[in-house]
């Protein structure tokens, strides 16, 4: 393939999954450490510890789970 016919993807990459207003709203729904009842055995110390070590500026609930992003690019010819 001639070099000038290779599409240039990188210049056109657009990240489409910036933090949306919905996502910001979901931050407020994230369980706080104080909300985790000791009686609820499922939320054991590992979850609490996880929340503590996570940067509080981000959503600990979200970043400790896998998530999907989609990138869109227009191929330049």
């Amino acid at each position: 393939m001639p070099e000038d016919s290779i599409p240039n993807y990188t210049d056109a990459l657009v990240k489409t999954t910036n933090v949306s207003s919905d996502e910001v709203a979901s931050l407020e729904e994230t369980p706080k450490i104080a909300d985790i009842s000791p009686a609820n055995e499922v939320f054991d110390k590992s979850y609490v510890r996880d929340s503590i070590i996570t940067n509080s500026e981000e959503n600990p609930y979200k970043i400790k789970r896998p998530y999907k992003i989609e990138l869109k690019a227009t191929i330049k010819k």
């Binding site: 999954t17 590992s46 979850y47 996880d50 789970r65 896998p66 999907k68 989609e70 869109k72 690019a73």
Partner: protein, 193 residues
């Protein structure tokens, strides 16, 4: 329940048992007319399952060191498996982010104040699909579960490119061998006559 031993010192190369954060898995690349779409899944933590001798032999190719004249030992990819937070895992919500939306099986931890058999099997590594990681407090990682069924491969050049920024810890030799051995046993679960 035994703690898993780890080291925080990063090696010059990728090693079996290394844990990396925020590793990308390319789910799909599709093209429609002039539009290219790339779907990725970002895994918060993965553990390297590839055998260490293979990783050692391939490292000179990626570290600019001298190696034999041919590319016989050069790898394309590294086998990894995701590590899930125990609390979310027990709830079956570890893949429930709205961008993925999987509801997984719940594992009940206690019934009538006693640990259930399912939970005990999980933490004692008697469930072939999973490997339980019981980290010491000072490690700074929550107790976690490796799901062998969700293993995938990552491009080795990509993993080297994020190695220094995304390295978290490495699991010590005996423990990592146990993990890889259980993984290979899980993959070869069908017996032969």
């Amino acid at each position: 329940m035994r703690y898993i031993e780890v080291e925080k010192k990063e090696s010059n190369r990728i090693e079996q048992g290394d844990i990396y954060s925020n590793v990308e898995y390319i789910e799909m690349i599709s093209q429609k007319d002039e539009e290219l779409s790339i779907n990725k899944i970002i895994f918060p933590y993965v553990v390297v399952l590839s055998q260490d001798c293979d990783l050692k032999q391939t490292s000179p190719y990626f570290e600019g060191e001298a190696h034999s004249g041919d590319d016989d030992k050069k790898l394309f990819s590294v086998i990894v498996a995701p590590i899930y937070n125990e609390g979310l895992f027990l709830l079956g919500e570890h893949l429930a982010d709205e961008t993925i939306g999987y509801q997984m099986q719940k594992i009940e931890k206690l019934r009538k104040g006693k640990e259930t058999t399912n939970y005990r099997n999980l933490i004692n590594n008697e469930t072939p699909r999973y490997h339980y990681l019981n980290f010491k407090e000072e490690v700074g990682l929550p107790n976690s579960i490796i799901d062998f069924k969700h293993f995938f491969t990552v491009d080795i050049k990509y993993l080297y490119s994020i190695k220094s920024t995304n390295f978290v810890i490495k699991i010590k030799v005996l423990y990592r061998e146990s993990i890889t051995q259980r993984f290979s046993n899980f993959l070869s679960k069908i017996g032969l006559p």
